[in-house]
């Protein structure tokens, strides 16, 4: 079979794409097509399979099943290089430009015009200027250094490069996350212009309003499947949210009896974040927001990893700004969203990772007896059912779910009262997720032998927030709104609030 089943072949099509990682099925028969002169919006919650689908399209991953076509020809890239040569241009949130090189070098990278075996600079300047002019941006000088340009202009350079090397499909992943409002307008105008020239564009975004504004059609992914699609003109924000959310989740989320105790964390007018809230013992407080909404920054500021601009923070008896080591002393612990880069030291063993914030119990006057350290770690390995060969195994050799449990075990080893959890279940398997949900619930539950703790958590997976939290506040474009009781919210309401970002 050399042609897709459709009569008029779209510029780009994928059919029945499947991809599994071990037991986790990330994509389960996904279809996507985009025609010439069309912008197709791709929408879905975190974990719906958008990024896996894009990795398949860009050649970074090979699908287990399914087929792809570009202009009616089979397309099976084995590497990102293959995909680029076939005309797939990916513009990621994190731009991939060489910041120290000039605009023209970046645009013509890998396709530099040559003359007698040397770079033909005048021709390069001409071609790059032409590419920029075609985008209506001849105000960007071809010999400017890319690192000195604004983010919006850098993005434009990246788009110019994609077009200069003859892209057949342009894929933009969350292109507005770091743009101001005026730049978003410019970008949309540019995308409409490119559409009118016959380009085929896939536009991925969390913001439904953006998709409605710029795309012709939309496709919604949910749990690795096509949840629905349609014309943006005919669908309301509500309709699209309904497709993203799907049916209610079962009782994955346990709820033990909780009693709200004393206020243990008080935040007043904290900047960055415009945050004011109070956290009590025996309570889980959730922060909902899309990537880039400033939710992670808020947690890091509270923990002393980023500077406080203004506002007050009281942790237990202590008021004022503090460094991370002081926060640990105040009984606060942070679980980083970035397990590999910040959460764990992957080349060190499990025992070091679990106990690093508090080594003092393992010996007097600065000494440390490894047997005691490993004993402490072994206790958490048993209690959290961490699958590893022993406390001496390197953290990097474990699965994502077990790594995450190690990172959480650190907070338990330190016996903190306030657990600040940033995306506690990101990128881990369903079984580990359920265990972590039970654990978080147990931390704030009424118990006889310990005062209940308090949990402040951020998640982009809304059912998780709704299932676990007592109160939820929405964070949007760097501002935290007032908290509302979780039981008064439906997933639909919350999704509406979270995705109502830019209205262009």
């Amino acid at each position: 079979m050399n042609h897709p089943p459709d009569a008029a072949p779209p510029r780009f099509a994928m059919r029945g794409i499947r991809k599994a990682f071990g037991a986790t099925i990330a994509l389960d028969g996904v279809d996507l097509a985009v025609s010439e002169g069309e912008i197709c919006g791709l929408i879905g919650q975190n974990g719906a399979g958008k990024s896996t689908l894009m990795s398949v399209l860009s050649g970074a991953l090979q699908p287990d099943a399914g087929e792809m076509w570009i202009e009616g020809r089979r397309f099976a890239p084995h590497s990102p290089h293959d995909a680029r040569r076939a005309g797939v241009a990916m513009i990621y949130q994190e731009l991939s430009l060489a910041p120290h090189l000039s605009v023209m070098e970046n645009i013509m990278m890998g396709a530099e015009p040559m003359r007698f075996g040397l770079v033909d600079w005048p021709r390069m300047r001409e071609m790059a200027s032409g590419a920029l002019a075609a985008l209506g941006r001849d105000d960007i000088p071809a010999d400017a250094i890319v690192g000195n340009l604004s983010v919006a202009s850098q993005q434009l350079v990246e788009i110019a490069r994609a077009l200069a090397v003859g892209a057949r499909v342009l894929v933009l992943d969350e292109p507005t996350s770091s743009l101001g409002r005026a730049d978003v307008e410019h970008l949309f105008a540019l995308l409409r212009h490119l559409k009118s020239q016959g380009h085929a564009i896939v536009y991925i975004s969390h913001f439904i309003e953006e998709v409605k504004s710029v795309a012709d059609r939309f496709i919604v992914l949910r749990d690795g499947r096509n949840a629905g699609s349609g014309h943006t003109a005919a669908a309301t924000h509500d309709d699209i949210v309904a497709l993203m959310v799907g049916e209610a989740v079962g009782n994955l989320f346990p709820r033990s009896p909780r009693t709200r105790g004393e206020a243990i964390l008080e935040v007043t007018g904290l900047e960055p974040g415009s945050a004011s809230f109070t956290l009590h013992r025996g309570e889980i407080f959730g922060v909902a927001g899309v990537l880039g909404s400033g939710r992670t920054r808020l947690l890091r500021t509270l923990f002393g990893l980023e500077p406080v601009r203004s506002g007050r923070v009281r942790v237990g008896m202590y008021s004022g700004v503090a460094q991370p080591h002081e926060r640990w002393l105040h009984g606060m612990g942070l679980l980083s969203e970035d397990r590999k880069e910040e959460g764990l030291a992957l080349t060190l063993d499990v025992a070091d990772n679990v106990t690093m914030s508090k080594l003092s119990p393992f010996g007097p006057v600065g000494l440390l007896f490894p047997a005691r350290q490993r004993g402490a770690a072994a206790r958490w390995i048993t209690e959290l059912a961490i699958k590893c060969a022993g406390p001496w195994q390197k953290a990097g050799e474990l699965s994502g779910g077990n790594q995450q449990k190690i990172a959480i075990a650190r907070l338990l080893h330190h016996d903190v009262d306030i657990l600040v959890l940033d995306e506690p279940t990101r990128g881990i398997d369903v079984g580990s997720k359920a265990q972590i949900y039970r654990l978080i619930d147990a931390l704030v539950a009424d118990t006889a032998n310990r005062k209940p703790r308090a949990v402040l958590m951020v998640s982009s997976y809304l059912p998780e927030l709704l299932g676990l939290c007592d109160r939820i506040a929405v964070m949007q474009r760097g501002r935290l709104a007032h908290a509302v009781p979780a039981e008064s919210l439906s997933e639909h309401d919350l999704m509406m609030a979270v995705t109502a970002g830019t209205v262009v």
Binding site: H325, R327, T347, D352, M356, G366, L368, W392
Partner: protein, 315 residues
């Protein structure tokens, strides 16, 4: 200890055995005679103790290129102090203290200017070499003969192993224990493995790094003392490029320039491998260029083997 880490450590040790056997065959049984072994131990001592210090720095994810210059400065300081009539013990401590001060300055510059250690110590390598030449008026400084000249020598009626070598052994054991059995040691590993995690966990990064550079430099000070003992003069031009031998010993011994990995035992074996090659080549009458090619090959092979091993363990 686990079987895994046993094999990892044995890997370097097997390398040493292999090299020793090769030269044992080439040179003959006298290669392993007590006198020859003692010669090798003495030859090894200076690089070894500096490499033990460098192990701490490399585990913390840093590097110190000023080691060779520090050794030269220490020999000059000791010689000048002895000429001023200071007691040998005070002169030795003065030399070690000077090196520790250099390390302290390295640590402060690295943490306060936030410039990478490679660049800072490349700069101080030149500064310290210049200081040594200035203090030594660009020539060798003769010093009165004292017991400091006998640290690497076996004097009549004394124990078989010279006191300088005992010093190296005792200090190595202490540093190995520091890395494994103290909080400071685990903090050094944490910073080297993932500095962001260390910060998240509340590790005092600035203070720890300054201690690392100062402590390592104090050990380099001991290396300088042994160098003085060997030369019996202060020489501002000695030990040029020695930092590369020192770094090589750590790397052959399983240290990683990315930080978070390295052991004192491995480093000593690494230093021993290099010494066996050097002595073996010269006793076999092989030219210096052969020695250099073999040593260079060993460094690349050691790191390549390590890569293959870690790739195998991951899959």
């Amino acid at each position: 200890m686990t079987t895994r880490s046993l094999i990892e450590r044995a890997g370097t040790f097997l390398g040493l055995v292999l090299v020793a056997v090769i030269f044992g065959v080439l040179v003959g049984p006298q290669f392993f005679s007590p006198t020859n072994l003692e010669l090798m131990a003495r030859q090894m001592a200076i690089v070894s103790i500096a490499a033990v210090g460098m192990t701490i720095v490399i585990v913390s994810g840093g590097i110190d290129l000023s080691v060779g210059s520090m050794i030269a400065l220490v020999t000059v300081v000791i010689a000048q102090l002895l000429r001023m009539g200071v007691s040998p013990l005070a002169a030795a401590l003065g030399g070690i203290g000077t090196a520790a001060l250099c390390g302290l300055i390295n640590g402060v510059l690295i943490t306060q200017l936030r410039v990478v250690p490679f660049i800072v110590t490349l700069g101080t390598m030149l500064v310290i070499r210049g200081a040594a030449k200035g203090l030594g008026e660009e020539r060798r400084i003769e010093a009165p003969a004292t017991w400091l000249n006998d640290l690497l020598r076996v004097t009549r009626g004394e124990a078989f192993v010279p006191s300088g070598i005992w010093t190296v052994i005792v200090l190595s054991v202490l540093i190995a224990a520091l890395l494994r059995y103290t909080r400071l040691g685990r903090h050094v590993f944490a910073i080297g493995s993932n500095e962001r995690m260390a910060r998240l966990c509340g590790v005092a990064i600035t203070r720890t790094k300054i201690i690392v550079y100062a402590l390592s430099a104090a050990l380099v000070g001991v290396a300088g003392l042994l160098q003085f003992s060997k030369l019996s003069v202060g020489d501002p031009t000695v030990a040029v490029g020695l930092e590369l031998d020192v770094i090589a010993a750590v790397i052959i011994g399983g240290g990683s320039l990315l930080g978070g990995r390295g052991t004192v035992a491995g480093t000593l074996i690494g230093a021993a491998i290099m010494t066996v090659i050097q002595i073996g080549c010269s006793q076999k009458g092989l030219a210096n260029w052969v020695q250099q090619i073999v040593t260079g090959g060993i460094i690349v092979a050691a790191v390549a083997l390590d890569r293959i091993r870690s790739r195998a363990s991951r899959s």
